[in-house]
Amino acid sequence: MATLELPPRGDVTAPVHQTVNKAGDPVAGAYFIQNAYRDAATPNMVTVILADYRSWDTLGEVVVVFAGGMACYFILRRRES
């Protein structure tokens, strides 16, 4: 039932796609579209968000990937005993 409360697919008037939300604050998606090229001189907005605006998030991501590899190594290592 909660599915029917969602905005239909491709709806431009959905709240996530607006410039300003109902409380008057700027919405992140539209802000990134409008300012990514000005801030980082890089046309691909996804790259700018990934490596510049949300780089702390991506650092955590890389640490998670590295920790996953290390965990596999330590789980499957043959113990010489």
């Binding site: 000005r38 801030d39 980082a40 001189a41 890089t42 046309p43 691909n44 996804v46 790259t47 700018v48 990934l50 490596a51 510049d52 780089s55 702390w56 991506t58 650092l59 991501e61 890389v62 640490v63 990937v65 590295f66 996953g68 590899g69 290390m70 596999c72 190594y73 789980i75 499957l76 290592r77 043959r78």
Partner: protein, 155 residues
Amino acid sequence: MTPTRVDACHIEGMKSQTDSPIIHVCARGLAPVILIIGLYVFFHGHYSPGGGFQGGVLLAASFLLLRMTLGTQISQLVMPSRLTITLSAIGALIFAGTGLVAIFAGGNFLDYGFLPVPWFDPAYLRNYAILFIELGVTLTVMATLVSIYDDLLEA
């Protein structure tokens, strides 16, 4: 000793995963192409869909194709197993080191506008710092996927 086999099968002590010459030729031809596509996706991530994660996964796919067809021992010549964990750590260190350089230059952590290259506009500085970040991400993802595959095989 059949003459249709690929030469690598004849190296002493190196056993291949499969004996079929069709699979060997296809994998050996396809792996460098996937490698080039991975590098393209990584370096062209600024201007088209792509970037570090996708490029890293493609590079890992190239190495894993060699691992799955030619066998683990022969493909050590392309990507040694003992290097993978080290490369993964180096990638994470490149990422964090770029942020730390920004701290020492007077900005916040990972604030590339403060990197100590004075003759650049901050926007272009961010542009080049993003490339370093993506390099770290690519190394980590590629090395970790190859490392997980090696660990699973070894078990």
